[in-house]
Symmetry: C3
Subunit: 143 residues, 3 copies
Amino acid sequence: MTRHMDYCDTSPAMHLLKVRSHQREELVEFTDEVQHKLKESGAEEGVVILYVQHTTAGLTVNENADPDVPRDMLHALRTLIPQHGMGFRHGEENSDAHIKASIVGPSITVPFKDGELLLGRWQGIFLCEFDGGRERKVVMMIR
Amino acid sequence: MTRHMDYCDTSPAMHLLKVRSHQREELVEFTDEVQHKLKESGAEEGVVILYVQHTTAGLTVNENADPDVPRDMLHALRTLIPQHGMGFRHGEENSDAHIKASIVGPSITVPFKDGELLLGRWQGIFLCEFDGGRERKVVMMIR
Amino acid sequence: MTRHMDYCDTSPAMHLLKVRSHQREELVEFTDEVQHKLKESGAEEGVVILYVQHTTAGLTVNENADPDVPRDMLHALRTLIPQHGMGFRHGEENSDAHIKASIVGPSITVPFKDGELLLGRWQGIFLCEFDGGRERKVVMMIR
């Protein structure tokens, strides 16, 4: 299947965001970048779909005020699904990352109105990195 | 960022649903309210997007026939991620709720045709409350 | 509520896919079928929404190169939420399947451009069967 890596910003409704992680496990917030691209598009009302093109990272929405919330989340997932010791067969020592990615999920959909994401007061949009640090690609669509 | 709390029913495609929980952990079904708003809109075919504006509650679709299914779900999540004892740092004693919210996810997307949600025979739409009881806001978009 | 089981391919934007599982727990890839229906539709740019009409199966995106990745995923979920021994009350001995279905989630949304799903290099679309083998219905919408 042909893979399209060159669609970045070729349409006002579609963007390729690059999100950089620096640790093996990290929640990287990128709310501002999404909001900025949404404003630029001029769209008034609809939904933003974010989709991560990787199998060891996911996307979520959670609290962005206290950094202990992302920390506790990674800690709990690591406790439940440790990198080693569960008898994984996949040879790259990152089965835990694949599993966490599917638990969190590869995409989120956030409504917007008047060009503003309808996030709750404490909500931010996070890349969930489970096998970094890396640059990760997130497709953003406005619909 | 400006937060929009007054967009309730200002557009035929967007609604603000309020879902009330009464316990700390509870699955609250609100399928009928979603179906009712969809019918009112007159839309024929598309998708309904539901998005919860909170960081300690999520949304899911699951069985609504036997109340033991939601009960077992909350029980299993509580067993895996207890409120206390995992060494959480976040000071509000609700890290478990934040984590469960991301595991279940903040949004669901359900297709519809002829103005009817295309739910399977046993499926209902639930707010997953992990830090209630409270009134929770769910944005509904028809697309 | 009237359930619509006859909407299969009545609209160019909506399809009913049937995905067959053969074991109680199995990840069944059906990327090619989704891509094929998308091509047939002639749609250029947008999102594909996939929605499973069952409460003991889910949908995910993950690696489709090494079969040990799906195997490890089912193994980890089974370790965390075994079929027996957690004190479940639901009488059908499939509470574990209901819970795993909500953890993975009932729907995924994948963007496309030029008629091609914007999947990452290693990504495939999977039905997550937790109470099979069965034929499962997945609604596909193009938007």
